[in-house]
Symmetry: C2
DNA sequence: CAAGTCAATGACTCGCAGGTCACTGAGTTC
DNA sequence: GAACTCAGTGACCTGCGAGTCATTGACTTG
């Protein structure tokens, strides 16, 4: 005897909420804007959410949980990847970055609100918490690299982590404001190259500079670099022994 | 015959506004909170400001103008400083960073709202605009350094600038949330060292590693670094000729 | 088809906070 | 000390928008 509810009602509301929140922020978004865009009434909204900020929380926590997961995976998957050779680890690194930033691009409206702390007072801590999580995971990654002899032992790991996390953070903040999709792979390869040249040992860097620039695969060199001969595997040889 | 106004009224209101805005953000701050804290009435507030957001704008634009000024100076003063030798330029660099971050620390409450875009929808563009300004100025600085032979010519200046601006940005965002003042000079020296090792030519780096770690002056080396002999002036010699 | 359920509606309530303005009285001038 | 000015006051007005709830009617079940 029950009347079945529209199974799409809640998701339509969430989609509309995403649009409205990303335009106006939590405080200035009106529940009626959301319901109008979703083609539903105010009452329907309160059938699915306790309050305006409840819907907001649902949106944010979804995204942040996903990202946090990815970053954790990156660290935990790093050592195993290193054991299969440095070249392999490089590719895994790029693939993970790519997956993460593809996700950010796909959810850029939401990510933008997230990065801007919901443009509201109550949610800044979420993004700050996430940022410091990212930074500490980066730190762990760097320590692994130092231990493996990939990064200079003179590196101030803490500062470098803040720096690198900051670089990725800046990229993300730019990305969510972009209107057409940039070449993520290219940008991320450049970022990775910055990290390597900034933190890598001289031997690592000179080895990598010998690698052929197979731009279309996932290699470390920025395409602008003029590559010398194909000394290829030497880099991973140099490094895999140190692990 | 006129009754003279309390000359401190407006500044008391601005101070109170700073406190209230930094706690609640623009949208959630109440005018009455501000006036209560300032020990004045609501009416007095509207004697000095057209609206709540008017007061907010006055606070933000003050800070941003100041910062923008400093960054501009940094770029414009760089070439002259380089002409007096690299060592000198290094000190000027640190001094400027220090002045900037001292300012940020002193105005951390306000800076925090600023960095968080006022926790309101209308002012995000201000901070984004500022960030991209900082990035482009960094890019210009890097180009000067590359031209002077200090930074590697293979450097992707645009990406590096985003990275470095991101690093400073991250530091600023952490600083404004700190409750007791960290050793700014130390942190900034570390940041500078990151930039140098990340972007500098190998010759530059090895030269600098020879410099004695006169930690108390303004030198480039992170204190942890164990310094070799006092080859001091060689670095600036190497570089001053290239300028 | 009658009875019953419950998703959905939207007019309504209500508290809140931005902004106003008639009034007060401190200080000034002559 | 009378007249005057204007910074400052705070009760009040007002619009807005979050959240409610009596009502509707689509759909199920027997």
């Amino acid at each position: 005897m029950p009347r079945p509810s529209d199974p799409h009602a809640k998701s339509r509301l969430l989609e509309a909420a995403e649009r409205v929140f990303s335009e106006k922020g939590l405080d200035r978004a009106k529940v009626e804007d959301i319901t109008t865009q979703a083609g539903l009434s105010k009452g329907a909204f309160y059938l699915h959410f306790d309050s305006k900020s409840d819907a907001f929380k649902e949106l944010l926590s979804e995204v942040l949980a996903h990202l946090q997961c990815r970053i954790g995976e990156a660290k935990d998957g790093n050592l195993p990847a290193l054991n299969q050779g440095f070249e392999h680890a490089l590719e895994v690194w790029l693939a993970r970055d790519l997956a993460m930033f593809e996700f950010i691009w796909k959810n850029r409206a939401l990510m933008r609100i997230t990065l801007e702390g919901g443009r509201s007072a109550d949610y800044q801590h979420l993004i700050e918490h996430f940022a410091s999580y990212a930074q500490s995971e980066t730190e762990a990654l760097l320590r692994q690299g130092v231990a493996a002899g990939i990064y200079r032992s003179s590196l101030d790991v803490e500062v470098a982590a803040a720096f690198i996390a900051g670089g990725y953070d800046r990229f993300a903040r730019q990305l969510v404001r972009e209107s057409k999709k940039p070449d993520l792979k290219k940008r991320l390869r450049e970022l990775r190259w910055m990290v390597i040249t900034g933190a890598g040992t001289p031997e690592l860097i000179s080895c990598l500079q010998q690698l052929p620039a197979e731009a279309e695969r996932g290699d470390s060199m920025p395409p602008s670099e003029s590559a010398a001969g194909p000394v290829a595997a030497s880099a991973s040889a140099v490094l895999s022994k140190t692990v």
